[in-house]
């Protein structure tokens, strides 16, 4: 009987209820899209931050100047290469002062040579300009301390311009650098690019510090600090918008419900006149609101997840991953909002059947 009346109520007031349903589903859609995007946007942002470069470095503890200290390459195996299924990129490099020249040319340019994990020979833009080198040129790279000894040829595969110290350097494969400098199996710096929230990165650093007690592990504050701040701001903004949209949805439903309450005066008056208790009548309307919330939530959450995929593609260029956990949360939230939005129906409790039938009120 109860549900039959609810069904009738919904069927009888179709026009108005479509408005409520529309408002609720619109709210649910936006909420679901934002919630899903929020999780995803935070993740994307931390990935985006890694464009700044490495944020954690491992260096030998003792700083002796001159040649620059080195450490064994075998430490590399101790470094975890993933953090919660995201890839951590690890680059080991060996630095030394060396010379670069065109083959058989007398004048060699003094330069910092970087041996890193690439397989190519890459020159910085300012260096290339200085020695008039072009891509595909053959170059001689030598070790500073041995003018007549170690020299190696390399074919320039690219010229890079970063605005940083890389512009003044030449980068060759790590093994070649180790051979040139006579430091087999040694590296001078390990740069690690850790994606994740500031807390996750801090965790990674302290973890690594425990694993490598003989080495100096630290975050590059320039990036870790600024990233933390920016991350906090953006995620605060996103959370604030989710709350705002929910409040708005509630407002919308409330307005529509006020409307419904006006139209229902006669129905309520009749129900009361034939002996319906106020509580039962109210329960009826709340059940109606909850049903509407459920339907709107189910439709809206599905639409929202689809929307967030599209939004993610528009904003970050990568489709957001739909997270199923968002679905039940949004449906539940929509029901809560619908029931809370039914607050104006409270006025129905105060209706006196007699005055309704007399056509007053």
């Amino acid at each position: 009987m109860f549900w039959r009346i609810v069904r009738r109520l919904i069927a009888a007031n179709r026009g108005r209820l479509v408005v409520i349903l529309l408002a609720l589903s619109a709210g649910a859609t936006v909420t679901a899209a934002l919630m899903n995007l929020q999780v995803d946007a935070k993740r994307r942002l931390t990935t985006e931050f890694r464009n700044f470069g490495a944020n954690v470095v491992v260096a030998p503890r003792i700083t002796i100047l001159g040649e620059g200290p080195t450490m064994s390459e075998s430490w590399l195996q101790q470094i975890p290469t993933s953090i919660e299924d995201r890839h951590v990129s690890v680059v080991a490099s060996l630095y030394f002062l060396g010379g670069v020249s065109h083959p058989f040319s007398k004048d060699s340019q003094e330069v910092v040579v970087v041996g890193s994990s690439g397989t190519d020979c890459v020159a910085g833009s300012r260096l290339a300009e200085r020695i008039h080198a072009k891509v595909q040129d053959e170059l001689w790279v030598g070790y500073w301390a041995s003018d007549h000894g170690q020299k190696q040829t390399c074919r320039l595969s690219a010229i890079e311009s970063t605005g940083g110290p890389e512009d003044d350097r030449i980068s060759i494969p790590l093994v070649s650098a180790q051979r040139l400098a006579g430091l087999l199996g040694r590296v001078s710096l390990i740069q690690i690019s850790v994606p994740g929230t500031p807390a996750e990165i801090q965790n990674y650093i302290s973890n690594l510090q425990n694993k490598l007690p003989d080495l100096d592990v630290h975050g590059i504050r320039q990036f870790t600090e600024a990233e933390g701040k920016i991350y906090e701001r953006i995620s605060g903004l996103l959370s604030a918008t989710v709350v705002v949209v929910l409040v708005l949805t509630m407002l919308c439903v409330m307005a529509a419900m006020t409307n419904v309450a006006m139209e229902r005066k006669n129905d309520v008056g009749l129900m009361k006149a034939i002996g319906g208790a106020t509580r039962r009548v109210l329960r009826l309307f709340l059940a109606e609101a909850a049903t509407l919330g459920l339907i709107a939530g189910i439709i809206g959450a599905a639409a929202g997840l689809a929307l967030s995929v599209a939004l993610g593609k528009a904003v970050f260029g990568v489709a957001a991953h739909p997270r199923l956990i968002v679905y039940p949360i949004v449906v539940a939230l929509t029901i809560v909002v619908a029931v809370a939005g039914a607050y104006p129906l409270r006025r129905l409790a105060g209706i006196r059947p007699a005055s309704v039938f007399r056509g007053e009120a």
Binding site: A33, F52, L65, Y95, V112, G164, R221, V245
Partner: protein
Amino acid sequence: MFIRLVADSFGRRPRHKLLTGAALALGMAVATAALSVSLDVGDRLSREFRSLGANLIVSPTADSLPLEIGGVDYRPANAGAYLLEASIPKIKTVFWHNNIIAFAPTLDVLVHESTKSFQTSASADAKTTLIGTWSHHSVPLADGSAFATGIGQTNPWWRLDEGRWFSDTAAECIIGTKLQKRDGMKVGDELHVEGPNEKVSLKIVGVLTTGDSEDDAIVAPIQVAQQLVGRPGQYRQLYVSALTKPDDDFARRAPSQMSPDELERWSCSPYVSSIAYSIEGVLFADVRVVRRVADGEGRILTRVRTLLWLVTLAALLAAALAVGASSAASVIERRAEIGLMKALGAGSGTVGTLLAAEQLLLAIAGGAVGYAFGILLARIVGEKIFGLAPQPSLLVLAVIIGLAAAVTLAGSAIPLRRASRYEPAPILRGE
């Protein structure tokens, strides 16, 4: 008569009007807050990004290649070119001078350092970098005011563990935390420093941590470094931190290949490359864009901005829906009244105009109140998230009032259309 009817309608049912007005005001408040925050967020965030440090580096055009490993430059002191410290204030004369928020010159010199007398520090290999820079410098500007800047502004992640910054004119210095631990020095100690040209004694006034190579270095006033190298009034690198607009395809084109029109448009946008170009013009030096910082920043800013605009749009839509529904409700309520008016001979047009005027009045009042509330809300959100309230903007007020009017009219239009078709008789009978 018309005005009396409208006034009467407000006077007779103040509670009803108040309710509709409140819903309108609330919706518009949210819209205002969303709009003001997202209008403001680009500026705020790009300021926030400046905590990443300098995005432009000025160095001499005819410089030799720096031989820098781990923060130590192995070039001999007499190699390479220098720039004149006296010409730095010119940087604040470029077109985008208001976007340049901080700059600081540096001059690095390799020194022997010891807390004991000069003779005992002669162990040849223990060399430390001394970085000469500005801590709190006031740069006089053309309009007579002064601009305060320093390395603490360009590199905000430089923090003092203890003590204070050195004064730019005193014989003082701060030391890196690793250096302090290695050599066991304390704040207040006298540090003897021997450079290629001269020897000086500096008082240690603070301990610096940066998480980078400066942790092994001494930081002192630039005059001290100039004295040590024997290059009075000169510096080697200038770090510039500027607020920029994210680069797009247009920004990346070479200025030499643009038509005069394009060049004007290009230099009137605060792209990082156009700011670099204008600094190059006044300092006659090589200005490099730190691509890693500038590009990453540009990309994130563009994304966050798009995201926020989409979200604001969604919030505006939701607000419009809410307000539209409530104004629809207020028209439906008045069916009996409409019936009566028609029975007394009012045409559909008159009734429609009357109701529309009421709704418009409500929209303007509700919109204005909503705007005030929204500014308050934006203040709270802005202060919570950025620690700074957004500036209230008249543009937002205009948009909000316009939106409120459009939405209430649209919301009332459908019930009004229906109302104009009502037959007075059944309504008056209560059917």
